[in-house]
């Protein structure tokens, strides 16, 4: 099992990747650090775990999908 990581919009361009997988992490914050090689986190960073909004401190488990993205601008 692994953790699927996704990046969207301006964050995808800044990080230079749209998705990847990592072996293990205990929180979304740790996922960010591993998946981005410790890139600086934007102040307005949003995170979702398994398609639901979450916090950076939220726990993650093997098999989870963790997404990072900037503030949304639809509508």
């Amino acid at each position: 099992m692994s953790i699927q990581v996704k990046f969207f919009a301006s964050l995808r361009e800044q990080i230079g990747q749209s998705d990847r997988s990592i072996e293990h992490a205990s929180t979304a914050d740790e996922v960010w650090k591993i998946a981005t090689n410790n890139a600086e986190q934007p102040d307005n960073l949003l995170v979702a775990i398994n398609l639901e909004y979450a916090k950076l401190a939220s726990p993650v488990n093997d098999g989870d999908e963790v997404a990072f993205f900037p503030p949304v601008t639809g509508g």
Binding site: K6, F8, A9, S10, A48, L51, E52, Y53, A67, F69, P70, P71, V72, T73, G74, G75
Partner: protein
């Protein structure tokens, strides 16, 4: 209840009319409130010639369904419809359509207003505008 996420141009009034017919709403409703958002050819004092709307497909669909479910809990709605464009969009193209049907006006109007505000600030869509000085990600929504 219906959610449409489309990579192709749609005609808002046709969507609303089709939904009314296909959902067999009959004559239970006395009020229909609609919101149609379309693309401007300017933003932040800059000309905008085109836009690309990106989304997080699985989360978007789930989130919009959740909004419809919440709206029907909050107000006595008979039905509602949310449609949203993704992909390449030109000025004057419709971006979003929200329609709410209820027996009386207040529920339809309030639910429609709530749905568009929730969608704009929480549903995972992102706009990238083509401007004369290059392509720019929109960083925040207008106040209203």
């Amino acid at each position: 209840m219906a959610i449409h996420i489309s990579a192709h141009t749609f005609e808002p009034w046709q969507l609303i009319s089709q939904h009314e017919t296909q959902s067999n709403l009959g004559r239970q409703f006395g009020a229909t409130a609609t919101f149609i958002g379309s693309m401007r050819d300017f933003n932040d004092d800059a000309a905008v010639t085109e836009m690309v709307l990106e989304h997080y497909p699985e989360m978007t669909e789930r989130y919009l369904k959740k909004l419809e479910a919440e709206a029907t809990q909050k107000w006595p709605l008979i039905d509602c419809l949310i449609a949203h464009r993704v992909g390449h969009i030109k000025p004057a193209d419709a971006i979003v359509v929200i329609a709410c049907w209820s027996a009386h006006r207040r529920a339809a109007l309030d639910a429609c207003n709530w749905l568009i505000e929730e969608l704009k600030f929480k549903a995972p869509f992102w706009k990238k505008e083509a401007r004369p000085d290059g392509n720019v990600w929109v960083e925040h929504n207008t106040a209203g």
